[in-house]
Structure formats: structure tokens, C-alpha cells
Symmetry: C2
Subunit: 365 residues, 2 copies
């Protein structure tokens, strides 16, 4: 029925390999109908720098703005260690987040039953784990100005980064947190450092006010980010939705991902405001893992995080919850059968390639 | 022979209870000789606010500057949730760190053999763990200006925090890191976010330069703080000394402490520059745990972190390594005998009080 326009940005390293599996999924759903996906591809990160001396071109940015959703691979690698700072691979990713105002970064940390033993945590602490880290993605120290290095003379330099948060930025991410919690276990934990940072003071205050005004039915807790990080490692199942700023979210979501033992398996969605015309949120979907340059081009990469990210696109951008469930179940079933890429195999276990994993998942669908 | 002047700042919550055990240790060493400790006590945190409407008075600050070492308990608690921001309990601690220029915060994360099972991580990952988190303590977002909340009108506020690092600040903490590593396993891992923060760019550059100029014999690695945090949870034993900025150090040292299963057992030292007159570094010693208001005054607190912090004072301020070893061994022996405060007991185990734990450790000495 509907036609959805996707922009695929495979990026660097293993990005193109795992994106190839998304293309097969698109084919699958196009055959199945009734929705139809059409896609364009673009360059981002080091690949874009090599072609255009920028980590994302204005043309690609225009396509990103026009697309119904962006599917992003990964960027970066040692090859671009010496490119000018403003053109480093990560800059393309940061520009996409900022210019599309993708302020709500959803990072589900779930333990796949078949992989619970892969966690460094004791099995009982992570078995059945299902938490959602909600990270503010367009503010804070990532984008605040000034952001400078100044030469002071005498061999001295001064580096400055600025963390800025306005009330409305905290309010809108809080709303997403409470709305997510209502569909989950109805609990939000907000993390900041109000004992040290003014942005932490404002963060705590606005989250609390938003709660008291609009979401009194949801349970709200506040934790300092340092002890919250400890609690995450001590007893992750106490959490449902964790909401925090851009930098704490970067740290805490990586740690949460590691706990599941399923790193390289986890998906993310970055959502913006609802467009009044299309009634659709601007959105980008991206695996949590990086570009893994050490294994790039070898067919070793695990495509599950990328595939699950496409699943999130179906769920959050296209109202295709049933199809998203189909993907999630196919992933779980494939893992239950013992099919493993190298990153999730235990010593001695037989492993499959990126494409073989993709095929196995498709076969389950 | 020598007389050492200490300032004891018990602070709030369980601070006074655990500090009482330090006083018993002081008595012990004074009897033993030849060194003699004399001490004064002062107020800090909420206790100071209640007395003087400030979280540390100028008089106490003068005493802190004059002391050979400061022994600090803990500050904070819900009682002071509504005091003016500049007088909150933590402000006293931050002022001590800043005004005494205690820039090098040593946070050893060690697993006590008797407690390896208390970690949420699998035993084999944390058994024998001994890493040192070295946290820059007087710079970064903790102290940079501007640090403000501004009313923008229309119900909007703007919060700003500023992360500032100068070359010399990174250089001096790097030196401490490399010197520590030389006495340990000769490896330093520096963590920052150079892909996002200018302070991360300068951090990485200066650590590398300091290494190449003065410490080529020490192995140096750089990791991004988010994936470094993951690695810490995945496989902590890969690290020896981790050096990072104030905020990353706050998060990473708490997580490292949690891994050992010995939270409430871990000590820290905060060191400044060497005083040219006394040839001694300004120094403050402090347990990593907080004020635990929920159990304060009940004789339940574990004094081990506080006692071990006093041990660090002997080692780093007074060149009393043998005596510090004596304390560390007495702690280990006490734990080996199965003596437990409530926080480290497993269900059903018999527990002892704060004083009983102190006595048991003294008995081993
Ligand atoms: C690549 C990098 C800029 C990025 C970040 O710091 O946000 C990454 O770590 C992430 O978490 O998506
Ligand atoms: C109490 C607080 C100000 C302090 C900090 O953030 O530095 C504490 O968490 C610590 O790690 O010593």
C-alpha cells in the first residue's frame, strides 16, 4: 500500500557488510507487501571523506532530510586518524543527529536467552534483562559552544567544552521516557550529577516537574550518574527506563550493552519531532556497535544489531509492529539453533559468516 | 621520632563512626612509636552547615592547609537536600580538593580474596583484580566557569557547565600515572572522548607527549571512555593504571569499585604538589563510599575503607610502607576469618558491628 523512502548510509568498516543484510530484508518485505520500501544509498564518515573531503556532503544531508527513515551502518577507523578534526568520520554522524534534531536515542539492552552466558556478569543477574536506555542526543557537551583549543603560549594550550541544556530539551526527552515506560514496566530512573553540575540541577528539576504535571502514574527515581552506573553493574534488573544526558548516556548505554553479553547484537533508534505534514518522526536507526575495522571486509561481522535496527525502523517509523516482532523472533530462533558468528561463539564452536547469519534469520521468517 | 599533624574531618552520616576506628589506629601507632600522630578535628559537609551555615569554614580550611595530611570521612544526606546550592555538603569536599590543589586522586580497585564471590561479575574475571584508577581531581567540568543557570523567560532556563583543561594539568596527572605504573605493572591506559570533546583531543595529545618525552619504558594505550567503560566490565584484569579526567574518573572509579565486590572497602588518596619546604605532598585520604545516611548511627557501617584510607596516608604521606602493609594484611586476615559487617555478609552469616570490625583488625596487628 504505502511506499516508504529509506536512505541507507553504510559508512565504514563492517558497515557495508551488515547493510547488505538489510537490503535482503527490504527485498523480503517488498515481496511480502503490502508496504513497499524504496531506497537510495549515500556516503558518510571516512567513505565520504575519501570521496568528497567531508564526512557528509550537503547533498547527502538533503537526502537524509527528505527520507522517511535513515538506516545507518557505522563510521570511523584508523585510516582517518589524521584527517582535519571537523572532517573526522564521527562528524558526519553528529551532524545527522543535530541537523535532523534526533534528540531521543533509544538503546534497548536485552539479553538474548541463548547468550546469557556470554555476559561477564553472573547469569542470574542478566538472564531476562530488558532495559531501555534513553539518551538525549542533540545537546549537552557534544554540541555546546565554545568548544575550542586555544594556544596560550609557552607550550600551554587550553581546551574548552561546554555542556548546555535548556528546559525544553530536558522536557521533551523526559516525555519520551515516561511514554516509553507506560508501554513497559512503568518506571523511569533519571541519572545526572546535580551535586556537581548545574545542568544536573536543571535536569533533575525538569524531569521531576514533567512527571508531576503529566505522568504521575509512572514511578520516577533519581540517581547520581556515578552510583547509577554502579547499580547498573550490580543489579541491572532493577531498572526499566533510564533517561540521561548525551555524555552519561554514551557511557551508560555502552555499559548496559556489555552487560547483556550481546554487544554487537544491540540496535538503536534516534528519533526527532513529529513532522506536522507527514505525521512521522524524523528517525535514524543504527547498530550500537562501531565499525570494527579489524574484521572489516572479511565476512566475519555479526549483522544482528543492524538487522534488529531495521526492525526498530519498522516499529517506530512505519507502524509495522508485527513485522518487527517477526524479525526479533527470527533472530532469537536463529540463536536458539546455535547459529553463531565469531563474536558470539564460544571456543571451539562452529561459526557462520555475515551472509550465512543473514540467510539463517531470513529462513526463520 | 617525627610528629605528624593530622586533621580529621568525619563529616556526615557514617563518617563519624568509621572515623572513630581511625582514632583507635592512631592510638595504636602512637603507642608503637617511633612516629607520633597528633590530630585536630573539624566539621565539614552537612555537619558544618548545621553549625556555621557553610559546608566548610575558613578556619577549618586554614587547618586543612596547615595539616600534614587530612583524613576525611564522608558528606551529604537527605537532611540537607534544600540548603542553598553553594552550601550543599559536597561543596566542602570540592573546596578542599580545589583549594589544596589535590589534583591526583588514586583509587585502587582491588578484590579481597575472601570477597571475590560478592562481585556481580563472574569470579574468574575479578579474582586477584588489582587496578589503579587515577582520576584528575581539580579540573574539568567540576570547576570550569561559567557554571550557571539562567532564566530565559517564558518558563525556560538554561544550564551551563564548562569543562576546561590546560596542558600543565594533563601533564602533571600523566606523570603521576606513569610513575605509579613503574611501581606496578608498567602499563597506563588513558581514557577520554577525543572523537567528541576538544578536551579529549588535548588530553590524548598531552598524555602521549609526556610518555614519549619522559616515560618511554611504560606501555601506553588510549581508549575512548565509552568503550573503555565496556572493557572495564568485560575484562577488568587487562588494566593496570587507568588515567582519566575528573568526570570520567568519577564514573569509571565507581564502576571499578563495584566490580571488586568490595565497595565500602575501598580507599582513596588525593595528592597535590610537593611542598618545597616540607618536601611533602598536600594530601587527603578518603573512603570511596558515601555517607550512607540510611544506616548512620547504628554501628552497622563497615570501617574497612576508612581504615584502608588511613593506611594509604601512612604509605603516601609518611613513608611508613611497612605500617601500611601491616594494616592491609590485618584487613585481609580479618576477612579470611569470616568476620563480616552487614554490607559484606551473605544471607544468614553472623555479622559484627563497626567497632567489632575495628577491634578484629587491631587484634590482627
Ligand atoms: C562515534 C561516537 C561519536 C558516538 C558517540 O559518542 O555518541 C558513539 O560512541 C555512540 O555512542 O553512538
Ligand atoms: C560527593 C561527590 C561530589 C564526589 C564527586 O563527584 O567527585 C563523589 O562522587 C566522589 O567520587 O568522590
Amino acid at each position: 500500500m504505502a511506499t516508504h523512502n529509506l536512505l541507507l548510509l553504510p559508512g565504514d568498516g563492517i558497515g557495508p557488510e551488515v547493510m547488505a543484510e538489510v537490503k535482503r530484508l527490504i527485498e523480503f518485505f517488498n515481496k511480502k507487501g503490502p508496504n513497499r520500501f524504496v531506497y537510495e544509498e549515500g556516503l558518510v564518515g571516512g567513505a565520504s571523506y575519501d570521496a568528497d573531503k567531508t564526512s557528509i556532503s550537503d547533498v547527502t544531508m538533503e537526502k537524509a532530510k527528505a527520507a522517511d527513515a535513515i538506516i545507518f551502518g557505522s563510521v570511523g577507523g584508523p585510516k582517518w586518524a589524521d584527517v582535519p578534526y571537523e572532517a573526522r568520520p564521527e562528524a558526519g554522524l553528529l551532524r545527522l543527529r543535530k541537523d535532523l534534531d534526533l534528540y531521543a536515542n533509544l538503546r534497548p539492552a536485552v539479553t538474548y536467552p541463548a547468550l546469557a552466558d556470554a555476559s561477564s556478569l553472573k547469569r542470574e543477574l542478566v538472564e531476562g534483562l530488558d532495559i531501555m536506555i534513553l539518551r538525549e542526543l542533540t545537546g549537552g557537551v557534544y554540541f555546546g559552544e565554545p568548544k575550542t583549543i586555544t594556544d596560550l603560549g609557552n607550550g600551554q594550550k587550553r581546551a574548552v567544552d561546554t555542556q548546555v541544556y535548556d528546559t525544553y530539551e530536558i522536557e521533551r526527552i523526559s516525555r519520551v521516557a515516561f511514554e516509553l515506560a507506560r508501554k513497559r514496566n512503568n518506571k523511569v530512573t533519571s541519572m545526572e550529577k546535580h551535586n556537581v553540575m548545574k545542568s544536573g540541577v536543571l535536569w533533575k528539576e525538569v524531569v521531576q516537574q514533567t512527571h508531576d504535571r503529566e505522568f504521575k502514574d509512572v514511578k520516577l527515581e533519581h540517581q547520581l550518574a556515578d552510583s547509577g552506573g554502579m547499580q547498573l553493574v550490580k543489579n541491572p534488573k532493577q531498572f526499566d527506563v533510564i533517561v540521561c544526558d548525551n555524555l552519561f548516556g554514551d557511557m551508560l548505554s555502552d555499559i548496559a550493552a556489555m552487560l547483556t553479553g550481546s554487544l554487537g547484537m544491540l540496535a538503536s533508534a534516534s528519533l526527532g519531532e513529529v513532522d506536522p505534514k507527514t505525521k512521522r518522526r524524523k528517525a535514524m536507526y543504527e547498530p550500537v556497535h562501531g565499525s570494527a575495522p579489524d574484521i572489516a571486509g572479511k565476512g566475519l561481522a555479526n549483522p544482528i544489531a543492524m538487522i534488529a535496527s531495521f526492525g526498530m525502523a519498522l516499529r517506530y517509523s512505519f507502524d509495522m509492529g508485527a513485522e518487527a516482532d517477526l524479525i526479533d523472533k527470527a533472530i532469537a530462533a536463529t540463536l536458539d539453533k546455535g547459529i553463531r558468528t565469531a563474536d558470539i561463539a564460544t571456543a571451539g564452536e562452529k561459526t557462520v559468516s555475515t551472509t550465512e547469519m543473514g540467510s539463517a534469520i531470513l529462513a526463520e521468517m
